[in-house]
């Protein structure tokens, strides 16, 4: 199984991968909140997420709320099929801004 990671590949993009589950979500939460603190506009790339559960979704929701509270912007990018299914189950696909790829996301934020 791919180890999860949350390494910003630019100042405003966080890439998540592997399983964002109860085991790994505490680390993901810290990294997302840290990224939100540092960037007014944040993109979270979910293309490599193979599994996400309610604890992982909670990380995304908390990051979104934190960004909004700081008058920032947060969007999801290239959401994997598995992650999209869970977002839809949580009715959050209409809450988050979701973009097909980074180029589309950057264009929308320009």
């Amino acid at each position: 199984m791919t180890q999860p990671s949350a390494v910003p590949d630019t100042a405003d993009v966080v890439q998540l991968s592997g399983s964002v589950d109860l085991e790994h979500s505490p680390g993901v939460r810290r990294r997302l909140l840290d990224a939100v603190e540092k960037a007014r506009r944040l993109l979270i790339d979910l293309s490599e997420v193979t599994y996400i559960d309610s604890s992982g979704i909670a990380c995304l929701v908390e990051a979104l709320q934190t960004a909004r509270s700081r008058n920032g912007d947060l969007a999801l990018v290239a959401v994997s099929v598995q992650a999209m299914r869970v977002l839809e189950l949580a009715r959050l696909d209409m809450v988050f801004s979701i973009h097909e790829d980074l180029a589309a996301a950057r264009a929308a934020q320009a």
Binding site: M1, L22, E23, D53, A90, R91
Partner: protein, 157 residues
Amino acid sequence: MLDLPAPPAFAEEALDVLVESRVPARADRLKLLRGSVRAAARMCGLDDSTAQSVVLAVDEACQNVVVHGYADRKAGEPEGEIVLTLARCAEGLLVRLRDFAPPVDAARIRPRDLADLRPGKLGTHFIREIMDAAAYRPAPQGRGNVLEMVKRKEPRP
């Protein structure tokens, strides 16, 4: 429970037990269960997309045990355990989740209002959305909890 009907009371001989797993109730052990849930769901005739959804529902039920069930365990007490049984039944897949934690008050288990955007407490909602039946059963020797859930291989009539 969860606004879902209770599963039928299966006679044990009517069940084809596919796997029974006993793991410590720790977050890092739940991935060991997820693979067997997906495989068992496929063996019970569920398509792959549905099987993945069932993995999520069972994982969330196990998380409830890890996070809430054994939350009051004191230092020095034996580590909590989860016993997961996956069986083929007439309807499809039967999931039986046993723990040895204090009894759950099933009446207090409710999915949260999704319109209230906040982190957490989505697991119960996922279980309700994905599974077709769920109920707590009397635990053997009155110790712990037994949660049974069913996912039908055919859509609900």
